[in-house]
Symmetry: C2
């Protein structure tokens, strides 16, 4: 039996799976600042209508357009590996599998939705897409996608990352994307913030505000904004990961995994692998589904489920989600992709429904897991992905203690080739844990106490 299953192009799924169609209770809609549900028309200056339609769709299966499939073929189907080296090192009876999304041109799962969003924008007649990026994964994925379709791409990159991660910036430039440090002088939001705090390191919240502003202020109507996680249509586009994985597990002779794991920041790579298995769980399968988040940003494990804004400047609608408060600034851990105050509404809702059991893991345990994975499986994974590896190792050790032959599958969301300095710091003993305390969470939520009371609902079913 080989330790890897490669599907052919013919095996790439032709439809995405929409979890919204199968949730036991319906999701709450995004709200405007007036507390009323946001209408598609209100979102039209921000997103093209074909994407808005996907965002609100209740259809279970949504066809992947031919043009998107052609672009996905560049690196899909991604391989599914059996981690025999890791299993051996752990001495576990568990069978561990991982889906490698690091093989995409930009090195992570992000291009799965970037090519889809770029394609829909182009179909709608859009010429330019704006976005924000933190560590740079999403900005480079969207630059890549736009380069393939001849669209302009403008990326507002959080200033501290812009200065610290020059190679991500270069990557975007190679693909023709224009990347500026945020806050910038190019938007009113940016100028206002620079006037007050010229030395600010920036934040994802600020960058979102700038990107949205540029899109809606373009009087030609040919510019829209794109988001790389959180929203329903992004989760939808990522489900190709789990749909492929099911076919591949089947070829390994596995009818159903016992445990499905992904790291969770905004939620999209986790959702991509997990949602197709969540469908099985809703239909009676016994599957443990685990989003793994950093202990320094424990959105699902410690933050309340409520309505909150996606950005500091409150330019986004209010979304029903687990949130540490839109002012929250996470500790500067290396897993930049997991440093987000909120969580995808679909993931948040599924957790509320009891379909998923999140865990929070400290930074050092994650790097230790990543190092063991690199030495046993040979792949150097992103700091974000290390959280999924660490959760997997916990479960594989549990299986050993219980003497059970559990089948575990996790999503290898991205490679760590551009994050080697963080491994270097870990091996040198320069990293530490940053577990967020309840006091810090309370203090962060206190900051949104002026938040309309009706919007804040404590954890519990809607």
């Amino acid at each position: 039996m080989p330790t890897k299953i490669t599907l052919t192009e013919d095996d790439v799924p032709r439809q995405w799976y929409n979890l919204a169609a199968d949730l036991p209770s319906p999701m709450n809609p995004p709200l405007g600042p007036d507390g009323k549900p946001v209408t598609p028309d209100q979102l039209a200056p921000v997103f093209p209508m074909n994407i808005i339609e996907q965002e609100v769709s209740q259809e279970r299966w949504i066809d992947i357009p031919r043009g998107v499939l052609d672009m996905l073929y560049k690196w899909r189907p991604s391989p599914l590996h059996r981690a025999t080296g890791l299993e051996k090192a752990l001495g576990t009876p568990a069978k561990i599998f991982y889906k490698n999304e690091g093989v995409s041109p930009a090195g992570s799962h992000k291009p799965n939705t970037a090519v889809a969003q770029a394609w829909y924008n182009k179909e709608f007649g859009i010429k330019k897409i704006t976005t924000e990026t933190g560590a740079g994964q999403w900005g480079s994925a969207l630059s890549y996608a736009c380069s393939q379709l001849g669209l302009e791409c403008k990326v507002y990159m959080v200033r501290i990352s812009f200065d610290q991660k020059p190679f991500r910036k270069t990557m975007m430039a190679v693909w023709g994307g224009k990347c500026v440090a945020s806050p910038s002088m190019e938007t009113q939001a940016g100028r206002d913030i620079l006037a007050k705090t010229p030395d600010t390191p920036g934040s994802l919240g600020i960058a979102i505000s700038e990107a949205v502003e540029e899109a809606v202020m373009d009087t030609t109507g040919k510019t829209r904004y794109a988001l790389g996680s959180v929203l329903n249509h992004v989760m939808l586009h990522q489900t190709i990961i789990g749909l492929e994985a099911k076919k591949q597990l089947d070829k390994f002779g596995i009818k159903k995994p016992d445990i499905v794991i992904g790291c969770a920041g905004g939620g999209s790579n986790f959702a991509g692998l997990a949602f197709p298995f969540t469908y099985d769980k809703i239909n009676g399968a016994d599957i443990e589904i685990i989003p793994a988040e950093p202990a320094s940003c424990p959105t699902l494990t410690k933050a309340p489920f409520m309505y909150d804004f996606g950005d500091v400047a409150k330019m986004t609608p209010l979304l029903p989600m687990h949130s540490l408060g839109h002012h929250f600034i996470p500790a500067p851990i290396h897993a930049g992709g997991l440093r987000y105050h909120g969580m995808a509404p679909l993931v948040s809702h599924a957790v509320e429904e009891g379909l998923m059991t999140p865990v929070a893991i400290n930074q050092l345990e994650c790097y230790e897991a990543g190092l063991l994975f690199a030495r046993t499986e040979g792949l150097i994974v992103a700091p974000e992905t290390c959280h999924a590896v660490a959760a997997t190792i916990r479960k594989a050790r549990e299986a050993k203690e219980e003497g059970k032959e559990k089948v575990i599958i996790f999503n290898l969301s991205g490679h760590g080739i551009m994050d080697l300095n963080s491994y270097d710091r870990f091996m040198a003993g320069d990293l530490k844990d940053n577990e967020l305390s309840q006091e810090e969470i309370n203090a962060s939520l206190e900051e949104i106490k002026d938040h309309p009371k009706a919007f804040v609902k404590k954890t519990g079913k809607w």
Copy 2:
């Protein structure tokens, strides 16, 4: 028709192809300092005997051991893409294909031979492998391979690269390899050089001397040395690239390419793609086979074919090859993997036989080609690979002028994710061409005028 052909594990070739069996005239053997052919016993302190047997084998097909196949499965078969985006941008009637070796864990073709060499060493009872590395591709590939088999790995990295490329060093450390700057205080060769020139930036020649010394001085007999290019067994291990590519072209409906291209430094990635097609050419197929080298290190296009040493310290046997002289120090171009004074004897010999038609290309043309490739095909390739892309673009433009539907295939030897700073410098206009002049070549060859006359033969058939 998809633009990519992915084979399954079942399609991975089970044998390597040995060009030595089919060359029209036999190769000349490596010579010792006494001018006599080196015997396998003389090489025994440096390489394990099972590798030495491969080095001198005249068998056409050599079985790939099961254990090596299992390791190759991690990332093989590698995909073959049709470059429809590049074709369109060039407006060429040519059909362009590329084999993507950048998908390996270390990011290049190097692991193809690293896992084989590590496996044979382990089979022979070896516990530790020493090697040298310039830019770090080979050192990281061997560290990766050793980590998979539980072998120790010691890498002497040229000091200037050690200082300038910290991430490659970290990559080796993540895989458990021990990397030291060369010259080091750990060998007599290193100490001697440091005593004379404490500030030397080091060189590949010096690093080879140190790595060989550590291997042969180990009194336990459990240490051997490994080389990542140039030698016959390395070319052999890389032929899996071309053998897979032939199957994939066949699935694209292509019976035979018209043109086969690879960049050439030591020669191994080029040989890997080209040798299986060279076999077809020897058997009558009309195929143009092009090694593309940098104009700053024009080994095949401008240097004589002669016997020369592989290293500065003359610790290696004399090899029959195209060489700029073993003292030659190439300009510091970013394509570090192509900065070698010599060339694989098998490639050199095949060029002498008229089977291949090398070209030399300047740095700026290469980066321009790499940038166009990234924007049209979406993959950012290594500076070395840019030479193959540039040669491909030249040929595709020729096909356009001639109005011919030529089929071109080139080897994408590695990704450029760890070389983004060089793209940055190119886009900023900071790079320049460094074409080597005939005067510089003459001056370099003058330095080996004390070289025994019998060993130096001018270009021409033996």
